[in-house]
Every structure is written in C-alpha cells, then in structure tokens.
Amino acid sequence: MNIRAQVSMVFHLDKCIGCHTCSIACKNIWTDRKGTEYMWWNNVETKPGTGYPTRWEDQKKYKGGFEKKNGKLSLKLQGRTGALGNIFYNPNLPSMDDYYEPWTYDYGHLFDAPEGDDQPTARAISLVTGKVMDTIESGPNWDDDLGGSPVYAENDINLDELSEEEREQLSEVERMTFFYLPRICNHCANPGCVAACPAGALYKRGEDGIVLLSQEKCRAWRMCISGCPYKKTYFNWSTGKSEKCILCYPRIESGQPPACFHSCVGRIRYLGVLLYDADQIEKAASAEDADLVEAQRAMIQDPFDPAVIAAAKANGIPDNMITSAQKSPVYKFVKEWKIALPLHAEFRTLPMLFYVPPMMPVLAKSKDGIYEVDQSGSDGLAPLLSALDKARVPIKFMARLFSAGNTAIIEEVYRKLITVRIHRRSAEVKDVSQAELEKAYVSGKTNPEEADAIFRLTALPTYEERFVVPDMSRELAVEATVLPLANKQETGFGFRKKPERRF
C-alpha cells in the first residue's frame, strides 16, 4: 500500500443554479491578465450542450486522455516518438474559434461620442487583435440554457448512443430540459497533462495532489492542452506559457477553500482530503470501461482503517492530514454513500473531482385538465417521482457522463437519491406509507440513518462541513528550507520571476 493524500472535490449538481459566480470569482482572481482573457479555469456548461471548448468531450478530435492499447495504458495523443515528431507542430490543438475570441466593449465611446442624432453604442473589440468585431459568433457559455437547441444540445456527444426516437424526444417542447455542469481542473490521480508534457513542467504536488504547471519550466509545446481530455490547461499567448487551475493553493495553504468554492451561491461544492493507494493507480486507470468507477472507488482508502493510517504515516503524511481525511465530506459522498461519481471516467485520468448527478425534473402530463406525473415503471417511486426509465434525460446520457457508460452504477446512485427524498417526504409531509418507505430503503440500498446524513450534508451543511481544508503546516514546511526570521516578509503570492516569452 502506497498511501497518498489528495485534496478532492464534490460538486452536487442538484444544487447548481447556473449563476456563473464561481467562474467570475476565478476570473477576477486569476485570469484577468493579458493573454488569459479567453481562459476560464472554472466554467459552467449547460447539458445537453457542447461546452467549452466546443465539444471538448470528443476525444476522436481532441485526442485527450488515455486509451488501452493491447491491454496497456497509453496516451491517446502520442507516444514518445510521436512527441518528438510533433514537438514543433502539435497537430491536436483546439483553435481559438473552438474556445472563442475574447472581447470587451468600447465603453469609452459612450462618453466621448460627438453629439449626434443617435445614441452612441459600444462596439465589441477583440481582446486579442484589438480590432472591432462585427459579429460575435461564440463565447465561453454560448449555449447557456440552450437545452434543446438544434445546434448545441443536439451535438452533445453524450447523446450519441441514444436512439433516434430518444433524441427526438429531447427536443420536444414538453420534455425539453437541461442541467448545469460546472467544471474546474479535476486534479486527476493519473493526469493526462502531466503525462503529455515533454518539458516536465507539470507536476502533481506531493502533499495534496494539486496538479500545477511550472511557469519557469514550461516551454510552450502545448502538449498538455492536447493531453488533458477535459481541456483544462490553457495557453497564455502573451507570456508563451500554459496555465491551469491551481485549486487556489495559496488560499488552501492559508486554510481557505478555493475562490470558486467559497463564492458558490448554491453551495454545491465540497472540499476534503481523500487518502488513496497509489499502487492501484495503474490498475484503476486500465480497468474495463464498465469497471472504471468501481476501480477508482476501490483505490480510495478508508481513513479510519488502522492499516491505512499506518501506511499513510509511513509515507510521511502528517497526522493533521489524516484527521482531515477522516472529516472529509468528499469521502462520505464518494466512498461511504457512493453517490458522487467522476466525470467521464473513460478518459482514464482518474479525476479527483466527483459529481452528484442531478435529479431530473419529473415528467408530467396535463390530461383532461389534470396534471399527472408519469410514474409508470418498475421502481414504484410514486407519487413524487417518475420512474427512472422515464427520466427526462435518459439514464444512458447520464451514464455516459458519470459512469463510463455503466447504467447500473448511475441507476444505483439515483435510487439512493430518490430514497432520500422519499425518506424526507415521509418525515416532513408524512404521506408515505411505512410499506412504501421500507420498499424505498431496499431499492435505494440505504437506511434511515444514512438517508438522514445524506440529507443533512446536502441541504444543511455548515461552512466547516462543506470545506474541510487540511492544515497545510506551511510555516513548518518553509522552515525546513529557509529561516523564517531572516526571510520574513519575503514570501507571498505571485512569481519570483515573471513568466515571459524567451524568444
């Protein structure tokens, strides 16, 4: 056993209202510099939809992540020889058009315009070329709320496996639906960006597993951009270095959650430490598609298990990290309750950000003036919820997103979530029969205590329960290399050497 600590995350999609506050918080702190205008380390997508950059999930085009070749795990992008051959010309980069051309408006004109017959307007100005943009064709959340759009929703790659009929239903006005998918760097346990970088500029931090990109070592080969299947590394065209989400490590080191977590209006975000067995990484990443989620769950270890604690200590993981892991909300969602799932496990990077899938709005019919929930089906989740196979967004779609196509896993998650609702309804409204309740516990593979705990952490968590930021003992770590007294006032944020183009 080779135990490592990872600061992990859970996004509870049922709570996301798509307000983009997280994106703005991130943008204001990190990507408001020249060359980063188009970057959204945190972005919120509408699903079904094509996301940012457009259709990023289409690895046939973008070549991100890993694949299994003859039973062995290899980068989809290229091997070592491929990296050498393509080093001066990376053929798998998204174009600016696939992200979008960033722009601002000529606000000054509103004030300076000479007096005329018409109101002055503020025209769009490209932040890259500085020229006026006549038509803005796309933006970072261009398909925001466009569920059912014949251009965007229909081109969601996760719909590929649906039948023609199922797809058509999705664009019927009555059925049309969508949900939000906020995305940041997954700080994967098997990161594609790290594997793809020829310069060794990317690394996974030992103490907390945050994946970082050294601005000093980056040589702008941009293989990380292709290698990351989530397209979460970006190239700064001004400094000539790539950049990515740093999980606000300066905030984490001072005990605060990352800005996107902190600012989240729906309080959908949870942060906590997971202990995992690094010896299982390869096995977990090269499991069969259907087993990927289970393998990743198996990789995550119980922080209360004495053997795990001993192994963690042997690896130099400090005690406070272990206690933090024991309080971790992420561990509960992912491992104990098994209701949080990795996004696109089939990319085989072992993402350490997990999603609680959203409950789809019920499907109801208005018949003869009576509004009636469509509850036919085997689950018997009446009277509140339509049966799973009648879900507005087909289960297959959710399985593509969150369980590498394994519908059994996602159905299990949904059953448990539904059971929690039935459990709460019985407690609050008290109109659920005991027999029905018992049936729900069995179907959801849960019990009243667990259902309560899930409810509490979902709906009523405190700040401290959502964010269990480990004490990083930064001062202690710093003391090992520099004298705090001699160097006080010299540390801080920012670069000691400004990242710059060298040529």
């Binding site: 950059p53 259709r55 289409d58 085009k61 053929p91 798998n92 980069l93 081109n155």
Partner: protein, 317 residues
C-alpha cells in the same frame, strides 16, 4: 580585315575640351592689369607642359614595349591569342590597335568580364563571334595594361616582330578519367586538390562543385587544347598558381581533364548551378509539404465552426 564601329564615346576628352574653352574665355579678362612677366609665364608654362607630354610616351615607350612583350606570354595571353598567326580561342591580335580605340582596349584588358556583363556592344559582338567563349579577367594592373597596349601599338606600326606561338598537343585523354580527377574520386599523382573543391562544371550533377573559382563550363581555357595546357601547366592567376605551383599536373592528367572539360562545354549548357539548387530545394520543399499534409492530415482543423455550419445546413438555413 574586320571593321568594327566603335561606339564608345570619349567622355573624358570632351570634358577636357570644354574646360579649355572656359579658360580661354576667362584668360584675357584676368590679364588686364598683369605684367609682361605674367604674360611670358602664360606662354612658357604651357609650352613646357606640352613638351613634357610629348616626350613622356616616347620615353616610356621603349621600356613598355619589352614589358608588354613579356606580359603577353607570362600572363598567358598566348593560350588564346596569336599575333598574326590566325585565330585561336580568341581573335588574332594583329592590327588590334588600329581596329579598336585605345580607351576601349585598355578597359577591355582590365575588365573584360565586366564589359561583357554590362553588354558593351563591341564586346558582345566579339563574344558572339568567338563561340561565346568569354575572355577571362587576368587581373592586369593599369601599368600592365599600358605596357601591353604599347606593345600592340609597336607591333601594328611595324616596330617589333610578333613572337610565334607554338600550339601544344597533349596525349590522348580519357573523359571518364578526367571526370574522376575533377571530382576527386581519383587522386592526382602529385597530390593536388580535386578541381571540384573550387569549381563546378556542367556534367557533374545538380549540386555542382565549389564556387571559389569560376564555373568552368563557359571558361575560355577549355575551348582549345593549347589554351588549357598552357594555362593549367603554369597557371598565372593568383589562386590557381598558388595551388598548382607545388603540385603540377602530369601531361596525361591534363589530357584527361581536358577531354572531360571540353566535352562539358560543348554539351548544351545546363542551367546555372544556382537555378539548379533553387529548383532542387524548391522540389524538396514541395515534397516535404506534401508529406506534412499527408502526415498531419488528421490534425485538428476546428470543431465549432464546422459543427454550427452542419447544423444550419441540416435545417436549411
């Protein structure tokens, strides 16, 4: 006898005359208040100058003529010219001073290559006539040129008799062996460097040889056996003499080289090495680009725009 119209206008003389006219106009006005002595000076000084000028050529003459005679052989003119012995590679130089103007002649001897490049009418005419063999620039100094012209003048006025140039005959040469010598695949017996190190010539492939020395395809020295043998056995130019003085070629080597080189020049002249290299690199670039197109044909060429366009096309927008 050939009659050639000399088109070169003597600008220098014309200017001089104009200046003289100016002086004549101004002289009386200046002399109104001047003394007799001044007037005598004005008469005497030009007189002395005219005398000196008249004496100068005749004084230099004797010395120049013998020097010119020497230069004519030492500078290798005999490789291509006779005087009164008929045309060789270049024209018979008997009567050259009567059929050409002195200024043209002296410039020609100094820089025949430049004059040909500039398209001087007379030079071009001669060039066409003598099988498009250009006369090489032999690096003569101004005084050497003057000596040579003095020598030609004295010959044409019957003052000196022309030397009889002897035709050189080489043993039978083998063009293939010559090519091997040229390209360095066979070493010279005295160990001299391969000609290709400094020269290129038609018939040794597209990339040619070095370009320290001129391309030999059009060299006058490879037009006749005599010209080649005379030059190569004792080259008079700076670099060539330095290279070959210590390691002379044997007669057989000279013959083989001549067999090879003379064939190259007779053959239709190939495009210059420069155009060949340009074509070669252009071709390579096209091949590489084509290769890259195939190699990278699956590169990512945009996702969003095609997707949106396809969706619009599907709906007939």
């Amino acid at each position: 006898m050939r009659t050639i119209k000399r088109s070169a206008v003597n600008n220098g003389q014309a200017l001089e005359k104009a200046h003289l006219r100016e002086h004549k106009k101004r002289a009386p006005a200046a002399g109104v208040k001047t003394s007799l002595l001044f007037w005598t000076m004005w008469l005497i000084l030009p007189g002395i100058m005219i005398l000196a000028l008249a004496a100068f050529p005749s004084r230099a003459g004797a010395q120049d003529i013998s020097e010119g005679e020497q230069l004519f052989t030492s500078k290798g003119c005999t490789a291509c010219h006779t005087i009164g012995g008929g045309d060789l590679v270049g024209p018979d130089l008997a009567g050259v001073t009567t059929r050409t103007e002195k200024d043209w002649l002296s410039r020609w001897l100094k820089e025949p290559d430049k004059m040909l490049a500039e398209g001087d009418a007379t030079a071009t005419e001669l060039f066409e006539k003598y099988n498009k063999v250009p006369m090489p620039n032999l690096g003569l100094t101004d005084s050497e040129v003057a000596s040579l012209i003095a020598y030609f003048e004295s010959l044409d006025s019957g003052g000196t008799t022309a030397p009889t140039s002897s035709a050189v005959t080489l043993p039978a040469g083998d063009a293939d062996r010559g090519k091997a010598f040229f390209m360095g695949t066979t070493r010279f017996s005295k160990g001299g460097p391969a000609c290709m190190a400094c020269h290129s010539v038609a018939g040794i492939g597209a990339l040619g040889g070095g370009n320290l020395g001129p391309d030999l395809t059009t060299s006058g020295y490879i037009v006749s056996e005599t010209a080649f043998a005379t030059f190569i056995s004792a080259p008079i130019t700076q670099t060539m003499s330095a290279v070959w003085k210590g390691t002379p070629l044997t007669e057989q080597e000279q013959a083989d080289l001549y067999a090879f080189l003379s064939k190259a020049s007779v053959a239709q002249r190939e495009p210059s090495a420069l155009t060949q290299i340009a074509m070669l690199s252009g071709g390579t670039a096209i091949v590489l680009i084509a290769f890259a197109q195939i190699w990278w044909r699956k590169r990512l060429a945009g996702v969003r725009r095609p997707m949106v366009e396809r969706a619009h096309a599907k709906r007939g927008h």
